[in-house]
């Protein structure tokens, strides 16, 4: 009996040792996207389960907030070896990963994918995937930010104006009309600590009012913008400072008109598609600026299972998977073939809003800042802190802009980073 047990144990050890030398039938995939619990569950049970069924390769999916996510990659890079095969993150984080030699050049993978002739990646997405002389990622998903509103709120929209061509003045008037009619402030923004209001400030308001994200930080146009934002805050729901995902106050009815990331509005549209409309972000004196968010996939330089990793990238960028991703979590496809599939329900409402925003004659695309390296995380708080001092604490606009512009200038000087579009190409970027 005892001998049988020993023999079994030895057998297990031999098999395990053989397993160590053979390529592991598993891919480790990390991301800072799809972090909400529902999205994680969907990614594991639907998206990646499909890949495992098809290929027999298991996928371990680790998704976590940006801080630990990047640290995990950097720790493996510094150790020179590790377990992560594939990583998927925002285009704005890739410069850090390229600088720290985390990700490899994806040109060959891109060529393999294009040779299949079933997916035509949008050229503008491929353009942003190239940095420091390499292709840092294969485009995976894209998203944007726009406005979702309750249908009943449209009754209060300024008379004779078109919501699909909304201006910032219309938005303010809308909020005022609602306040006069109901006595309540029903506009909402995600100003909470993990909310994305900072993106509204640097990617939407600034370029729409001043034509630039950084260059015109303390220009007279910027002063006019901050005066406007102060008035807008006056008709914004007073709990906005703790909102992080706008679908929650929208569904509760605390907020009727909300601006947020598509994925953070979608749950509301999905639950009650007939109650909401999606509208483009407003236009200012310098056009209708909006941020295009690109999420990319890349292999680590030390990937223990590069073949499995490439197969995962192929699966995730395949048009059928892209449609599945749109339906599951509301991230939009990166290829024309996948975009041809017409969605239904809440997604249709969302897709209409997205194309109205991108297709507007005065549309201007802004991109997330790149090149700030390890200090990328400091960019957005400069704008949010400016907002806090001007709108919440009521400090003098010119003084706040002068001191915050110094922080912005120091950040760009220290990192020698270029201005983010639509600012003029200039390195290091310097606010006038």
């Amino acid at each position: 009996m005892f001998r049988t047990v020993i023999l079994c144990l030895v057998g297990i050890l031999v098999v395990a040792a053989a397993g160590l030398s053979a390529p592991a039938p598993e891919v480790l995939f990390t991301s800072n996207q799809l972090t909400p619990v529902e999205e994680q569950e969907w990614a594991r049970n639907t998206l990646l389960a499909g890949f495992s069924r098809e290929t027999g390769i298991g996928v371990r999916f680790i998704t976590e907030p940006e801080g630990p996510y990047v640290d995990r990659l950097l720790a493996e890079a510094r150790a020179g070896r590790g377990f992560i095969d594939v990583t998927g993150t925002l285009h704005g984080i890739f410069p850090v990963l390229v600088a720290e030699r985390v990700v490899r050049d994806m040109s060959d993978v891109q060529r393999q994918l294009e040779a299949r002739r079933d997916r035509t990646f949008y050229p503008d997405l491929l353009a942003v995937s190239r940095m420091e002389g390499i292709q840092a990622f294969v485009p995976w998903m894209q998203a944007t930010y726009l406005i979702a509103a309750r249908r009943e709120a449209l009754r209060h929209f300024p008379q004779g104006r078109n919501p699909m061509r909304m201006t910032y003045d219309d938005l303010l008037q809308w909020g005022q009309n609602i306040r006069e009619a109901t006595g309540e402030r029903r506009l909402g923004f995600p100003v909470g600590p993990r909310g994305l209001y900072g993106r509204f400030l640097h990617g939407y308001a600034y370029p729409s009012f001043t034509g630039a994200q950084v260059k015109k930080f303390r220009s007279p146009e910027a002063v006019a913008m901050w005066q406007y934002l102060r008035r807008l805050w006056g008709v914004t729901h007073p709990s906005s400072f703790r909102y992080e995902f706008m679908h929650e106050p929208l569904l509760l009815g605390e907020v009727w008109v909300a601006w947020d990331h598509t994925a953070r509005l979608l749950p509301a549209l999905r639950q009650r598609p007939e109650e909401f409309v999606v509208l483009p972000s407003p236009a200012g004196p310098k056009g209708r600026s909006f941020l295009s968010v690109v999420v990319g996939l890349s292999l680590t330089r030390w990937s223990p299972n590069p073949d499995g990793a490439v197969r995962l990238v192929e699966y995730l960028t395949r048009p059928a998977t892209q449609v599945l991703t749109l339906q599951g979590v509301g991230f939009f496809p990166v290829s024309a073939e996948a975009a041809r599939v017409v969605p239904t329900g809440g997604l249709k409402v969302m897709a209409d809003g997205v194309s109205a925003q991108a297709g507007a004659p005065d549309a201007r695309t802004a991109l997330l800042p790149v090149g700030l390296g390890a200090r990328t995380g400091e960019f957005v708080p400069i704008y949010v802190d400016t907002f806090r001092q001007i709108a919440i604490e009521g400090r003098r606009i010119e003084d706040v802009l002068a001191s915050q512009a110094r922080r912005l200038e120091e950040l760009y000087r220290a990192t020698n980073a270029p201005c983010p579009p639509p600012d003029p190409a200039e390195r290091p970027c310097k606010p006038d």
Binding site: F241, E254, A374, P381, D385
Partner: protein, 295 residues
């Protein structure tokens, strides 16, 4: 002490002195590895220049000049100063009540201890669902006719209500831990003291003041140290209820690490929390010192 005495009785005094050290070795190793080492590392991170590895005060300067630093320090001290005395007083009252052994007191104890099992984030969410515009509190007040339209308790225009909501949540969540420590302390006090006081005609109030409280001093000290140190680490409930409008030190530590991706300034905040906790513990140990003869 006890171990050494035990060794003496067994008549093997020479080999025994190592036993106590062996017994504390696992916890000592744990403390060194998981408490002391990270602590040293945090302090080092907060004064190290990341590129060159040299000493710098730059991170401390950035912390102190940050927009949120002084409000965070102020609010942390304010919330602690409001919540801890309320918790101590309430917990003492509850513990004394339980110590009267009234019928059903075990159930009272269990019910009061329930919040102990709730994580601080969950506690924050529970109280958030009470205080929002569409929350339970507004629903009740509207139903009974005390309000004609919902009142916004969590508004940037009324920081008083925000701090009040945070203190209420903290009192609800953490009074139980103080109570449990005090109940244990009360049960250690022999009944004879109170009976003797009664024989000499002391009123209940005088007995409490001159007999029970002095004997409860070391338990009170432990409870206050635990509560105050934990109050400096207060984070999830505050962020849930107030976002960053009411900044606190532990919250800033988290934001500097996870939003700004700057572990150095985050460590500077963590070191500050450490120093504050150590200072407060020292003050408690000094002021609530147990007299030698009572120990």
């Amino acid at each position: 002490m006890d171990l050494a005495d035990g060794g003496h009785q067994q008549g093997k005094p020479r080999s025994e002195p190592t036993t106590p050290y062996l017994l504390v070795l696992p916890s000592a190793a744990y403390l060194v590895l998981f408490v002391f080492y990270p602590m040293v590392q945090a302090v080092l991170l907060s004064v190290t220049e990341p590129r060159t590895g040299t000493f710098t005060l730059e991170h401390l300067r950035r912390m102190v000049t940050d927009l949120h630093f002084w409000p965070a320090l102020r609010y942390t001290v304010l919330i602690t100063a409001l919540a801890v005395p309320i918790q101590a007083a309430l917990a003492l009252a509850m513990a004394l009540l339980i110590n009267t052994r009234f019928p059903g007191h075990p159930y009272f104890l269990y019910v009061c201890a329930i919040p102990l099992a709730v994580s601080d984030l969950a506690a924050g969410l529970i109280w958030l669902s009470l205080f929002t515009e569409r929350g339970y509190l507004n629903a009740i007040l509207l139903r009974v006719g005390l309000l004609s339209s919902p009142f916004n308790f969590l508004s940037y225009e009324s920081p008083g209500w925000l701090v009040g909501a945070i203190v209420a949540t903290e009192v609800w969540r953490a009074t139980a831990i103080v109570m449990v420590v005090l109940v244990a302390g009360l049960q250690l006090i022999p009944r004879d003291y109170a009976e003797t006081a009664a024989v000499f005609g002391a009123s209940a109030w005088r007995t409490l003041w001159h007999v029970t409280l002095p004997l409860l001093r070391s338990s009170l000290q432990t409870a206050l140290i635990i509560r105050t140190v934990l109050a400096f680490q207060l984070f999830a409930t505050v962020v849930t209820l107030s976002g960053r409008l009411v900044p606190v030190l532990a919250g800033e530590t988290y934001f500097w690490y996870s939003l700004y991706r700057n572990p150095h300034v985050a460590s500077a905040y963590a070191t500050l929390v450490l120093l504050l906790s150590a200072a407060v513990t020292w003050v408690y140990l000094r002021t609530l010192r147990t007299p030698e003869e009572a120990a």
